[in-house]
């Protein structure tokens, strides 16, 4: 797979897998209104995933459609970061992930709008407006939970500690990015996303987790134990009833 296809695919996989995770909140978020908010965000991400996977299939040149890529690849072929596949855990942990991931995705798409690749630039231009809302949604919750009651503060801090190590992978550099100068975004440009998260934590009276270890490998197809189960749920209908439609 060429670098452009690989890069587009990993962005699409991030959006697809997080969409699947957020969809699990359907019917079980703390409030009806929040239920709808999270699933709206999941649908935004699914829309991004569809555009990115379709484009990845085109530039890969093997005739694979978005459905082929979403439903017919196995775990080791998915190149999403591990952060997005982690279980939702506590609502506060979901929100911690939303803060870190949407801060990252916001800077990514904002920069990618000026990519030399016109299709990626177009997708980013549409998506950045959606992600601006996702980031604001997460920020509002982190502020309320962090600077809320003792209970909400404790659980927000715990959620943050749970997700924190996995955010490191978002800003990793590798050969695929280096090969796509002017097209892909250098992780150095995404540094403001980290500063944004730190700013929200300070405002929410939360502390930056003192955790030094950080997992890695999602971009190479190495995933956590949770990924297989997620894929099974996402793919089994399509695989059991190939070509079915409704």
């Amino acid at each position: 797979m060429n670098a452009l296809a690989a890069y587009t695919l990993r962005l699409g996989d991030d959006a697809l897998i997080l969409s699947q995770r957020l969809g699990e909140w359907t019917g079980s978020a703390p409030e009806l209104e929040e239920d709808i908010a999270l699933t709206n965000i999941a649908l935004d991400l699914l829309g991004q995933a569809r555009m990115l996977l379709t484009y990845a299939g085109e530039v890969d040149g093997n005739g694979r459609t978005e459905d082929d890529l979403a439903y017919l690849r196995d775990e080791r072929e998915f190149t999403n970061c591990q952060l997005v596949e982690l279980p939702n855990d506590d609502f506060a942990a979901t929100i911690a992930r939303q803060l870190m991931f949407s801060a990252y995705q916001y800077e990514l798409y904002a920069a990618l709008q000026h990519s030399a690749d016109e299709t990626l630039a177009g997708i980013a231009g549409k998506a950045v407006k959606e992600v601006a809302y996702h980031r604001d949604h997460a920020r509002q919750w982190v502020l309320r939970l962090g600077d809320g009651t003792d209970e909400s503060h404790t659980r927000m801090q715990q959620g943050l500690e749970r997700m924190w190590p996995y955010a490191h992978e978002l800003l990793e550099d590798d050969g695929v990015i280096q090969e796509l100068k002017g097209v892909a975004i250098d992780p150095g440009e995404l540094r403001p996303s980290y500063d944004f998260v730190l700013g929200v934590l300070a405002e929410a009276t939360l502390s930056r987790p003192e955790i030094d270890w950080h997992p890695s490998g999602g971009r190479q197809g190495m995933h956590t134990e949770h990924m297989g189960r997620l894929l099974a749920e996402m793919q089994h209908i399509h695989r059991s009833h190939a070509g079915a439609s409704w």
């Binding site: 409030e31 009806l32 209104e33 929040e34 709808i36 908010a37 709206n40 809302y133 604001d136 949604h137 509002q140 309320r144």
Partner: protein, 97 residues
């Protein structure tokens, strides 16, 4: 009332549609504060492009007329047809009146 302590307050939502001139009442929702109410309203009531502007108002600040007062409030208007401008002959050619 102790059970209600954990319930978020109720807000009334008004949306101005793309072509509309006025904000219309579309429903209500629960939210802990005004900024969250606005965002919840965005998610619940505008995800199918229903609007371009949102108002949220705490339900408790609305003073409503009482069903008991229905007769004295609204009945007297029922037989005053002369308050409707329906007694004019329209010139031919006027189409949008």
């Amino acid at each position: 009332m102790t059970d209600d302590r954990r319930e978020w307050p109720l807000w009334e939502v008004f949306i101005r549609s793309r072509r509309g001139l006025a904000h219309n009442h579309v429903g209500s929702l629960h939210a802990p504060d005004a900024p969250t109410a606005l965002r919840n309203a965005r998610d619940v009531y505008t995800r199918r492009q229903e609007g371009v502007s949102i108002w949220v108002v705490p339900s408790t600040t609305i003073t409503a007329s009482s069903p008991d007062e229905k007769d004295s409030f609204f009945e007297p208007a029922a037989d005053k047809v002369y308050r409707h401008p329906t007694f004019y002959d329209l010139p031919a050619g006027v189409q949008h009146l």
